[in-house]
Symmetry: C2
Subunit: 189 residues, 2 copies
DNA sequence: CCCTTAAAGCAAAACACTGTGCGTTAAACT
DNA sequence: AGTTTAACGCACAGTGTTTTGCTTTAAGGG
């Protein structure tokens, strides 16, 4: 027995299966019936898991949904690196839109809006980080770039806004248009 | 007794008082503890009303919150009319931001994001209508204007995005900056 | 002023969610 | 292999939410 109290987590096997099943169930249920109808018993049933396991691990639905949102809304691809900021942004915007426009992700996004009420959510913080990296890299190469704020306001915001509040508007060319318009803001001819 | 069945609503007196009290209670509770903690019993208690009255009139929390959101997020001022589209937009954007940035309205906005999952919400539809009216009026006067889409993407979207997902960013000059940038998109010098 | 009846209140039952004690399973480490 | 114990499942208790039948109140109309 060790005198110090380091809990020693359990990361594999059954526990891992339970965690994965629960997270998938949350995603499914949110996509199916909206975030407001996701309850612990429902998730447990769908995941084939005991409700008490969920309560003990996550505490309540809020934390669970928050965790799934931050995990699943995160980018899963490396940053584009074409050498030109405009092309990088175009590809980046396409990826962002394509990623979040899927109904399941859109529902998660809306769910995390409510969670933004109680302090921190930041399911989109990593997107801002990415924008910062893109800008810094291009500036180091001497390119003229929009500011991070401008990228957030005129590229990210419209994309998120449409997905969140006007899901019907499906338009593949949309991100490209935004990048073009952002370009006009940055350097008028 | 009449052969026809026209229900004959009751609009005044006690019913009106109950409705008003319930709506106020919803707004208060959402502002206080977030949309996910608004329950029918809580609203009933705060409003000094019987829970069953709420269930019978509104059915469930969702419908109730949706109703309050559409009512309270609507603009309550006449459209600006300065004669120049840029000034109109500037004033309009300031009003929009000032109106929705208040914590109570912001919480309502986030709540209605979740409700957008199940079909229609459109608590912002009237804002789009307003933008349309502004544009049409200015065009009738021969002015060059941004399109309604551009107004939604580069003016409304950033404002809503910030309020919804990044509430900490308080910046009074923000709407003005956006209008200036929108102007650069529309007509480059 | 009185009648009709929509809508509110009350009370209790039905249902759903949350939390805890306890025995069991199996992950991590030797 | 064997030991330890984190994490799971089960069952049940406590609490909160939703529904319903019935009674009471008062809005709207003659």
């Amino acid at each position: 027995m060790s005198s110090d109290s380091v809990p020693a987590r359990r990361t594999g096997g059954r526990s891992a299966l339970v965690i994965a099943a629960v997270r998938d169930a949350v995603e499914d249920l949110i996509a199916e019936s909206g975030a407001d109808r996701v309850t612990v018993p429902a998730v447990a049933a769908r995941a084939g898991v005991s409700p008490s396991s969920i309560y003990r691990r996550w505490g309540d639905v809020g934390s669970l949904v928050a965790e799934v949102a931050t995990l699943r809304l995160d980018p899963d691809r490396p940053l584009p690196d074409t050498g030109a900021i405009d092309d990088d942004l175009r590809e980046w915007a396409r990826e962002l839109y394509g990623h979040l426009a899927r109904p399941t992700k859109a529902s998660l996004l809306r769910a995390s809006a409510v969670l933004a009420d109680d302090g921190e959510t930041n399911c989109l913080a990593s997107r801002r980080d990415e924008a910062e990296r893109l800008v810094e890299r291009a500036r180091a190469l001497g390119q003229t770039t929009p500011s991070v704020r401008q990228i957030m306001d005129h590229l990210v915001a419209p994309i998120i806004y449409r997905i969140t509040f006007e899901p019907d508007t499906v338009d593949t060319g949309f991100p490209d248009t935004l990048v073009t318009e952002l370009h006009r803001i940055t350097e008028p001819s």
